[in-house]
Amino acid sequence: MIEQLATLAPGPFHWLSLTVLLFAIGIYGILTRRNAVGILMAVELALNSGAMNFVVFNKYVAPSAVDGQIMAIFVIAIAAAEVVVGMAIFVTLFGHRRTVDVTRMDQITDAAGTN
């Protein structure tokens, strides 16, 4: 039993399948959500799986270096920056339009109250 499990230890293919699956779920969320904050959450899901890919390749291709982990740290830092700007924009949008429904954001000009 234990020997069998040990031979089934996850390799790069399994790890990459997992991250690709998470990324695909993120794509689905980006395309189906109507709430802008929900879209941001799906983007976070995709970014997180992308960062994990760097670590997977770090472990299986170049275990004698930590470049992949450093890239993952950069991805996490930029994700934090992106969420801050996104939240500021959504709060501003909500102040103008009283909604964050992306299907109703079809005007560039400030036309509060017309829709």
Partner: protein, 182 residues
Amino acid sequence: MISQATETLLFYLFATVSVGLALATVLSQRILRAAVYLMGVLVTSAAFYILLGAEFLAGVQILVYVGGIVILLVYAVMLTRSSELLEDHPSFVRKGVAFVAASAFFALATGVFSATRIGTAGDGHAPAAVADTTLEIGRRLLDQGATGYVIPFEIISLLLLSVLIGGSVIARRSLAKAEETK
């Protein structure tokens, strides 16, 4: 051998939990619950980082993602009264297109990397893995040499500073406007 068996078990356990929570994140009708599910996905990702031998990254993941980004998202939900905007069921066409796009990406990516022979370093002639990854990450981030990352590191800190300023300016203008209209 025991450690490999444990690794297998933990990998499949966390993979199931992670995929289930990710699906719940994108399918949940209530946006606050989606935020909680997203937090679960990020915690399991930290567990994956530990399985991959990146302990420092697991800590960063918990601190920045779970402690920072998810909290910000919850604030965004509350400040925009998104919890009142229940997601209605997206139309069938929209769901279908999204499903086709996501599964096409999955099929394409899986096909590409299963056709690729990834040059894994575990073929006997590999150099030893880094013993203390945290120490090595710190050294590389502040290394000024050709393989160091000190310039990207400084650029990231500048980016975070500009995001701090930009975010507060954008959000403050809208708050001031909301005060005027009251």
